[in-house]
Point group: C2
Chain length 234, copies 2
């Protein structure tokens, strides 16, 4: 991870460090939502936003938003709300977005192709610089400006090209082995789309996207909804 | 949503109904994880599992697992752990997986194609029966055994074919309009992959997968990790 020198940023880091130990998972999960919502307000040239305005767009209460943000210092002015640009900058910094990250993608199947072509992360400092797959028919093909390389070249590539994040879209059976190889090569972050709970050492972080889990949550909510409807009709 | 008649299931529904109102979001989020982990144990022919064994595979404490499961009744026997098959059946029922769901996919781009080809949900009672896109070049093509239809046919199709879930992979600018049309046609659940917080009436449930949010969480964790490393080296 290569930090970009930013004066404002450095001051915040010191402040965050003291506060962060106790940040609940729920608050961490909401940070990207604030980031997304504030980016949208910036796009619409909104200069200020109150916690209740921000809350109503996100199905959160104003009190919850104030409480979440209080973990990271003091923002906003009573009765005047938050300056959108300033708050977005702070949240970007908290999220580590003033660093640049290099990424490799493992698995150039349907899902891998979709992620590689998904442009949304590129303008946020995440750049994909290599793609690997074990299918010899894909070798040498271009995808998202990268040549697809055989997985046997993984170690060689990572030795020469230090990489922060690996995106894993491999099938379940291959995922742990590939994960172990990535960790041996010094990868510190894994964005895991494979349906396997990966075992990694303490110094490696994993962020899972389990498509099926998400669909099961939808199923749960649908059942709750239909149950409530049935109850109210009694 | 079409319920499959199951004797065991009916009893549980009554019990769940009383308990469910107070189930924390965190518990709901962990249910699919339990489901996935127990399915894996079933595949490996494991008959019984203790809460500490289950916990260590999932980075959760035994106490947390016992506490989560206690929301849904009394399982397991002190010192003997849980019967894997029985617990999996209960969790399937809690998740609403003894129902069958029909789905339509909106957007046959890279992400839509990846989701349509993702077989993991099919054997859990979710079946895709139509795909819509506004690109005339895709019209008539086959994807995951469905013909891609023009989005102008959406209302007509949904009127004749009652559908539970719509999978939304449309671009940001189109998502709310398509969502409104789906809701007008009686769709009750939306699996949303588009980068927009959708506005829906109270009787419609939405489950978001925000790829960028997930990547931002990874970035946050990487920054935390590198901060901790820097601290420990001081």
């Amino acid at each position: 991870m290569r930090k970009l020198g930013k004066e404002g940023g450095r001051g915040m880091t010191t402040r965050n460090k003291k506060i962060r130990a106790g940040i609940p998972q729920g608050v961490i999960s909401r940070l990207p939502i604030y980031y997304r919502s504030l980016s949208e307000l910036m796009r619409r040239d909104v200069g200020r936003v109150s916690s209740s305005q921000l809350g109503s767009a996100l199905d959160l209460t104003a009190a919850q938003i104030r409480s979440d943000l209080s973990y990271f210092g003091s923002f906003g002015q009573h009765g005047y709300g938050y300056r959108v640009e300033e708050l977005l900058q702070h949240i970007s910094h908290i999220l580590g977005l003033d660093a640049n990250y290099t990424m490799v993608l493992i698995g150039a199947g349907n899902l891998g192709r979709a992620i590689a072509s998904y442009g949304n992360f590129r303008n946020r400092g995440f750049s994909l610089h290599a793609i690997f797959d074990n299918n010899p028919h894909l070798e040498g093909n271009f995808l998202a400006d990268c040549i697809i390389q055989p997985i046997s070249k993984l170690e060689e590539f990572l030795e020469v090209n230090p990489t922060d994040i690996a995106i894993l879209t491999t099938p379940r059976a291959a995922s742990q082995e590939i994960c172990d190889r990535l960790v041996s090569c010094g990868i510190k972050g894994i964005w895991n789309f494979s349906p396997l709970h990966l075992q990694v050492p303490d110094n490696v972080v994993v962020e899972h996207i389990h498509l099926t889990d998400s669909l099961l949550k939808l199923s749960f909510k649908l059942q709750e909804q239909s149950q409530q409807k049935a109850d109210s009709e009694k």
